[in-house]
Structures are given as structure tokens and as C-alpha cells.
Symmetry: C2
Subunit: 323 residues, 2 copies
């Protein structure tokens, strides 16, 4: 234990685990990495931090944490339609625990291989457990999927199912009546919280088709809220259309609806498509997405039930610094 210098930690545990790409002219081990962006493309970059006690529990499986730390960034690349390429890892550790580090590196590396993304640099420091990962991908600038392109009458879609990660968090905090859930439901929900699937392939299929895309990290209402703010439009959501997993359907329907609208950490995509392109998108993404509403010329999000009654909700999602 604790026989490795800071300099060699990243190299020892991580360097060989991720794919080796030809566009990395210089990787780990110099003052900077040197990264070659393909002609006609621009670099898409995003940084996210996970902090123990805020984003994950101290007892989380390190392999799951490695997975999630990278998945969060890959989800941002997905939401731009970018091709994943390179990432850096800044990790602050209270101590060097070899088995923990091996597990964390394994979770990170398995997901990195799936998405052909290479670790190109890092920094290791001592302190309270904190993980910052910056991901880089590339995309043709004229195709990049931004938040500001939604138009009135566009349809609104989401991928996968919503509220699962939020339900898992409430289960963990014993804030959810779990009497209706089997062990397999609980396991499913926990996996959704701890091992989210970044929708990278879906993002790339949306290039040239979606008018706006965002990933749902803070909850559907909050993140769709960013699309309507940036696009200068409004939205109408049909609550009956919200896609719920089998596990969520077993919960009280109000609870499930609130989780689907307001809980974060699902890392699904929310996107808008013009009516003209809707059929093409739906045939490309069979069973991978659900139409949940429409963009309108209001300046807010209204939610309607199956009887077309407007439903009010308090709050819009997850916030580390509530007012």
C-alpha cells in the first residue's frame, strides 16, 4: 500500500486500460496531451465532478463508480451528437487503496473500451474523494446538437425510461414505500442509478434530424426547461406518455410521475424534432424513444393529464445549492 508516487498512480492503474487511439499524438506522461481533431470537425468538451456524499455514497461499489464517472461525461457528448475520443481524470483520494483503485479503473476502462475513448492525462491528489472527468469528442460544427434550436410545433422525445435513478436514490434513503417492489426491481433500479447508459449512438443518429438535444441529468422538467429557455419557446408535456420502467409502474402513480419529471441522474436524452422528420426519427429509434409532448409558443412548460387538465408541480428538479 502507498508505495506509488503521485506521478505513477494514473499511469499504473489507468494508462494501459483504455483504448489507444491514433489521433493521440502524446498521451499520459508529459505536461500536456496532444490531440488531433479530424479536419472539418470541432472539439466538443465537457467537465463533470462527482463528490462523495453528494453524488454517491461512501459505500458505492468502486467499479460502478468508475463506470458512472465516465458515463456522465459520455452523456454530454451524446447530447451534442459528438464522437467520443479522449478524456482526462482528476481524482482526489483520501488514501491509496489498491483494491478500490483497481475496481474503479476497471469500471472506467470497460465503458471506455465500449466507446473507444482514451485516457490522455490526469492528476492525482490527496484529499476528500472527488472525481473530475473531462471528456472530449468531435463533431461537425454545422451538425452539433445544441439546446437552442427547438421550434414551435416540434415534437418532444425522451430516450429510455425516466425516474429510475431517482427511485433508486429514494430506496437507498428509505424514502420510498417499497412494498410493491421485488428484489429484481430493486436491483434494476440500483443499476440504473449506479451504471447509467450514455446514449452515445442515439445522439449520433440524431445528427441532422433533431432541432435540440439535452441530456437529462437534473430531471426532465429542469433540463427541458433549459431547452425552452435557450430556444425562446414553451413546451407542453403529456404526463400519460412519460415512459416508465416496469419497476416504476409498480409504485404509486403520483410518485412515479414526480420521479419521472423531477428526479435527476437518468442520463437519458430529451430532444425535439420537426413534424417533418418525426417519422424518420421514430423508425430509426424504434423502442429507444418516446414522444412526450410538443413545443409551443408559450414561455414555460405545462403538463397535462390524459383528460387535458393542466397539472401543477412545485420545483423543477435537482439542485445542489437550493435557494
Amino acid at each position: 500500500m502507498a508505495t506509488l508516487s503521485e506521478f505513477s498512480l494514473i499511469q499504473h492503474y489507468f494508462e494501459q486500460l483504455t483504448p489507444q487511439r491514433e489521433d493521440v499524438l502524446l498521451g499520459i506522461g508529459d505536461d500536456c496531451a496532444l490531440l488531433q481533431c479530424p479536419a472539418g470537425h470541432v472539439v466538443a468538451a465537457s467537465i463533470d465532478t462527482l463528490v462523495e456524499g453528494v453524488h454517491f455514497f461512501a459505500d458505492v461499489d468502486p467499479e460502478s463508480l468508475g463506470h458512472k464517472s465516465l458515463a456522465v461525461g459520455l452523456s454530454d457528448l451524446a447530447a451534442m451528437g459528438a464522437t467520443p475520443a479522449w478524456f482526462t481524470l482528476a481524482i482526489t483520494l483520501p488514501e491509496i487503496n489498491e483494491s478500490w483503485l483497481k475496481g474503479f479503473a476497471q469500471g472506467l476502462a470497460t465503458l471506455a473500451k465500449q466507446h473507444k475513448i482514451q485516457l490522455v492525462g490526469g492528476d492525482t491528489t490527496r484529499g476528500p474523494l472527488t472525481i473530475s472527468i473531462q471528456v472530449h469528442g468531435f463533431v461537425r460544427p454545422e451538425q452539433a446538437l445544441r439546446r437552442d434550436g427547438a421550434q414551435v410545433d416540434d415534437f418532444i422525445y425522451v430516450t429510455g425510461t425516466l425516474g429510475d435513478a431517482g427511485a433508486a436514490l429514494q430506496l437507498k434513503l428509505q424514502q420510498l414505500n417499497e412494498s410493491s417492489l421485488h428484489d429484481e426491481d430493486k436491483h434494476y433500479l440500483q443499476q440504473r442509478l449506479e451504471r447509467p447508459t450514455p446514449r452515445v449512438e442515439i445522439g449520433q443518429k440524431l445528427l441532422g434530424l433533431a432541432t435540440s438535444v439535452i441530456d437529462i441529468s437534473d430531471g426532465l422538467l429542469a433540463d427541458l426547461g433549459h431547452i425552452i429557455d435557450k430556444s425562446g419557446v414553451g413546451a407542453r408535456l403529456e404526463l400519460a406518455q412519460l415512459p416508465l420502467s416496469v419497476a416504476l409502474q409498480k409504485l404509486n402513480s403520483n410518485t412515479a410521475e414526480q420521479l419521472a419529471l423531477m428526479s435527476g441522474d437518468d442520463y437519458e436524452l430529451c430532444f425535439t424534432v420537426s413534424a417533418d422528420n418525426a417519422a424518420q426519427v421514430e423508425s430509426l429509434l424504434v423502442e429507444q424513444c418516446t414522444r412526450v409532448g410538443v413545443i409551443n409558443d408559450q414561455s414555460a412548460i405545462s403538463c397535462v393529464d390524459q383528460n387535458d387538465q393542466v397539472i401543477e408541480f412545485q420545483g423543477t428538479g435537482y439542485d445542489h445549492f437550493p435557494a
Copy 2:
């Protein structure tokens, strides 16, 4: 206090403070930033983390901390000869303290303006004070200043003076006999620790001239050690040539020498130049650099005094995870 959501924190305090660049196609406020690397160049990227209690004291002036957080990354760009362009900021804060944030942002922004580097993204989380900054610049790949190009008989140079930051740290920790230092000396040393000057212009002047470059963040012996490891060579340092500030010259000469060799955080550059290019480098960098030794065919660093006697030292520099 605490009336701003996480989403708006970075935008509120930081977005408008840094230069707006034309090669930023999309900045803060989407899932990713979109960054255009000039033709013929590659992206140079580096991430560094500063943790309270490890890299800085809790009572540090927030403006100095903002400066240093960016300076550390700029120093890595300097060591590649890269032109600074973009950075991201992941900051974990125990609370939202407006005056602290304004000071921190001001220190960051002042240095950012000097180097025309734009903040293009970030993440704010709640937790123990931790700052990760990833810097990006660009450089022609065939010119980039790497660690692995030092050749036997190259001269070894360092910029500025060495050991000042280490002396300031020892002063702060009351580990230094300060009887010989005036208040202006102490102020100078503190500034060297808290407001290091990244040698970006010097790095660019070395393009095409230096055979290897590294920035001195962990101490000269440790960082020159990386050059000789990567280059497969050895080095001979002349202790009498180590550049010492007026303040350091007032200390016991053994103490000053050890600080110059082994203390970190100076953020000067160490570089090697062939004998053929030495005159050109020395005339380009008049008074900005000092020749301190020569590369040889050994596999280690030897230090010699003015009588050519070899001096032994224990340890090589700064390490957050000592064995």
C-alpha cells in the same frame, strides 16, 4: 447568500470575465463547448486539481487562489510551447460565499485576460473546497516541446529563480529561520508561492530551439528527473549556477540550495538546448534563463559543487503520496 442555482453559478460569476474568442463556437451553457483548433495544429490539454489543506491554506486570499488555479495549467501549456486558448473549471465549494467567489473569479479573470484564454465550461458542486482546471491550447505537433528529446551534451537551463515558493511555504509553516529576511523579502516569497507567473511567452520562444521542456512543479530534481527518464539520458547540475532570488540568497546557503533543488510550486521551466542553439536561446531570453548543467550519458542526475565535488541529496521533490 445561496440564492443562485448550480446551473447559474458559473455563468453568474465567471462567464463574462474572461476574453471572448472567435474560435469558441459554443461556450458555457450547453452540454459541451465547441472549440475550433486552427488548421495544422493539435490541441494541447492538461488538467490540475488544487485541494484545500493540500495545495493551499484555508485562509488564502481568494484572488490569489483564482490566479494560481489557472497559472498551474498555463504553466503546462508553456512547457509544451502551446498557445493558450480555452479552459474549464470544476469547483467544489462548501457554501456559496459571494465575496469569496467574486475574489476568486477576479484573480482567475485577470490572468485569463493576460493570456487570452476563455472559460468555456464548468461544473459546480457542493463539498470540500476543490478546484480542477483543464486548460487547452494549440501547437503545431512537429514543434511541440516534449520531455523526451534531450540529447547528450545539451545544455540545461531554468527560467527565473528557484526555491522561492518552497521558502514561502516553510515560512508559513514556521519551519524556516527568518531572522535574515525583511518584510519585503517575505512579501516577495509569498507572492511567488501564491501568484506564480506561468512562462507562456518563454515556452513559445523555445519552439524549434529546445530539445525538451518541463515545468518545475515538483522541484528541479524531480522534474529534470522526468526529462532524463523520458529521454534515456543523464544530467549533471552545477549547484553554484542555481539561480536564487535576493531573498533566498539571505538564507543559509545549504537551505537555499535544497529549496532550489527540491521544493515545488515555482512553475518555472527547465529545458535543454543543443550547444549549437545555445547562443541563440541565450540572446532571445536575456536574463530570463540560467544555464545550470549539461545532459550526459549517465542514467541519473549528479550535482557538483564549485570544486567539482559530487553532492548527494536525499529525496527528489514533492510528493502527495510519499512511500
